[in-house]
Structures are given as structure tokens and as C-alpha cells.
């Protein structure tokens, strides 16, 4: 049986990159068919295949790391760099929307009544549900750190409790935001105020859902004994992502909700 003379990971041939690219094609052309020709089927197929590829690709990463032992310290270093670079790219993604917000709100045009919030827009009170949302996400940042410490201290039961609380707080945030969206007196079509508000908070909400899903997968893996006190990078990646989501919310709260009212 051949053994490698290096500590890197030469992956088995895999169909997921190709299928993932095809799924992206189906999703984007599906959007086109939906927007212009009122047909949602290609889009549904695109989203379904994207989900299937994600599930199987990441399932394979877990198999390669936890079951086959390929995630040596060198490999883990690469995974860390990868996650950090990905989160950095997401920071730039949000930076664009913050730029758009400040572009419109720092010099409000005559069409908006020369003021921000524009004439006729009744913004949400930042000291009501948005403040509760801030407390919820800050608390979830604490519970995820508690979970991490529990893992490194080999306290399985406490880790499971803390991670579960983190996920519940994330779901609570999503429920509160959904309710808020229903209650806003303004819509996405209400001038550039509505556009910047709903695009920025909407994408943030999507990232909360993604982060909660990632944490949920980590909870299942934690229960199934995949993590050790010294090796649990999947959990760390999820925790980094969760802290990023929390920080984005803090910026949203301070700029759009508070300063922007």
C-alpha cells in the first residue's frame, strides 16, 4: 500500500466541483427564466442541485477529515486560511451595501426632501425590537464562546447545551426580524431608503440563517463525537462565521437603524 511522503491532502477524484458549477448555471439561468418569462422550474432545479452538491461535498470533507485522518496540522492551516479569506470576501460584500447607504444618506437629494430619513418615511424605533435583536446576537456570541471552551475542556454535555442555546438565539433573531419585516410601514420600493434598508438587512438575515445552519451541523457532529478537545476546526470555522454575522449586525444597527433614523 502506497504512503505519501508529505503532510498534504491529495483528494480523491470528485464530481462535486463540476456539478456545483452546473448548479450555479441552472440557478442563474433559472433566475432569468423566472424574472423574464414567469417560469420558476429551472430556478427550483438550480436551487435543488446546489443544495445536493453542498450536502455531498461537505459530507465528503467530514469523511476525509474525521474518518480518514487527512486533516494534518498543515492541511488544517490551509483550511483556516481559506475560511478567513472567505469571511474577508463577505466583509467586502457588505461593504458595498454600506457604501450605497452612506452615498444616499449623507447627501440626500431634493427628490427625498433633502433630508434623511426621506420625507414620508417613518423609520423603525431603534430602541425597540432592533435593540432586542442586538442583545440576542451579543448573547449568542457569548454562548458560542462558552461552547468552544466546553469543547476544549472535554465537557461534552455543557458543549451541547451551549451550542444548542446559540442556535436557539439565532432562530429567535430570525423570527424577530421576520416579524419586524411584516410590521415596517415602508417597503423595499419606498425610495432609496427602502432599497438600502431591506437589501442590507435582508442579506444580513440570510447570513444569520446560513450561520445558524452551519452551527446546527456542528451540533450534530458534536453529538456524534466528531470533535476532540484539540481538533475541532469545523466548529471554529462556524464560530468565526457567527462572530462575523454578529459584527455586521452591530454595524447595521449603529448606521442604518440608529444614525439613519
Amino acid at each position: 500500500m502506497a504512503h505519501q511522503a508529505h503532510s498534504f491532502h491529495m483528494v480523491d477524484p470528485s464530481p462535486w466541483p463540476l456539478f456545483g458549477a452546473i448548479a450555479a448555471l441552472l440557478t442563474t439561468s433559472g433566475l432569468t427564466m423566472w424574472f423574464h418569462l414567469n417560469s420558476p422550474y429551472l430556478l427550483m432545479l438550480g436551487l435543488l442541485t446546489t443544495t445536493l452538491v453542498m450536502l455531498q461535498w461537505w459530507r465528503d470533507v467530514v469523511r476525509e477529515g474525521t474518518f480518514q485522518g487527512h486533516h494534518t496540522p498543515m492541511v488544517q492551516k490551509g483550511l483556516r486560511y481559506g475560511m478567513i479569506l472567505f469571511i474577508t470576501s463577505e466583509v467586502f460584500f457588505f461593504l458595498g451595501f454600506f457604501w450605497a447607504f452612506f452615498h444616499s444618506s449623507l447627501t440626500p437629494t431634493p427628490e427625498l426632501g433633502g433630508q434623511w430619513p426621506p420625507t414620508g418615511i417613518k423609520p423603525l424605533n431603534p430602541l425597540e425590537v432592533p435593540l432586542l435583536n442586538t442583545a440576542v446576537l451579543l448573547a449568542s456570541g457569548i454562548t458560542v464562546t462558552w461552547a468552544h471552551h466546553s469543547i476544549t475542556e472535554a465537557n461534552r454535555k455543557q458543549a451541547i447545551h451551549a451550542l444548542t442555546m446559540t442556535i436557539l438565539l439565532g432562530l429567535y433573531f430570525t423570527a424577530l426580524q421576520t416579524m419586524e419585516y411584516h410590521e415596517t410601514p415602508f417597503s423595499i420600493a419606498d425610495s432609496v431608503y427602502g432599497s438600502t434598508f431591506f437589501i442590507a438587512t435582508g442579506f444580513h438575515g440570510l447570513h444569520v440563517i446560513i450561520g445558524s445552519s452551519f452551527l446546527l451541523i456542528c451540533l450534530l457532529r458534536l453529538i456524534k463525537y466528531h470533535f476532540t478537545p484539540n481538533h475541532h476546526f469545523g466548529f471554529e470555522a462556524a464560530a468565526w462565521y457567527w462572530h462575523f454575522v454578529d459584527v455586521i449586525w452591530l454595524f447595521l444597527y449603529m448606521t442604518i437603524y440608529w444614525w439613519g433614523s
Binding site: 500500500m1 504512503h3 470528485s14 418569462l37 438550480g46 474518518f67 485522518g69 476532540t228
Partner: protein, 92 residues
């Protein structure tokens, strides 16, 4: 190619115990929410049967792979047909 030895000390260490602990040494409280099946899975996925990791579990993997392939390839054909039709001029 380049598989690590059967039981890697890092991966098989139990979350709640030391690296030398083994499943049969567990006190009763440690079966909270299920037993540790990781060592068995490690054996399964390290079998030298030549299968790539995405098919290593046999039938369930094959079914899922074939479903995904059918949907992506079928979807590509549907996509090309739909885009061809959408690009035809509409006569008023």
C-alpha cells in the same frame, strides 16, 4: 494513496476523555445522546477497496450521486432548450 494509519490518535480521541480512552471504558453518563461510533466509521472509510470518498459508503452514496448527476445533466439540457426558446424573437 497516502492514507493515514487505521486509528489516528487525534481523530479517535473522545471529546469527554483522554486519547487513551476506549468506548468500552465509558461510564454510564457518557452515553448521553448516543454512543461514539467514530472508530467504526474510521475503519469503514479507511478500507482499501479503491472507492473514492464520495462513494465509499456504497449504495446510499451511489443513489445520491446518480440522482445529482441526473438532475444536473438533465437540467443543463433543459436550460439550453429554455435559453434557445427565450432567445427567439417574439412576433407582436
Amino acid at each position: 494513496q497516502g492514507l493515514k494509519p487505521i486509528v489516528s490518535t487525534e481523530s479517535s480521541a473522545l471529546v469527554f476523555g483522554t486519547a487513551t480512552k476506549v468506548a468500552s471504558d465509558l461510564p454510564a453518563t457518557d452515553s448521553f445522546l448516543g454512543k461514539n461510533k467514530v472508530p467504526d466509521l474510521q475503519k469503514l472509510f479507511q478500507k482499501t477497496d479503491g472507492l473514492p470518498v464520495h462513494l465509499k459508503r456504497g449504495l446510499p452514496d451511489r443513489l445520491l450521486y446518480r440522482t445529482t448527476m441526473a438532475l444536473t445533466i438533465g437540467g443543463t439540457l433543459y436550460c439550453l432548450v429554455a435559453l434557445y426558446m427565450a432567445s427567439q424573437p417574439r412576433n407582436q
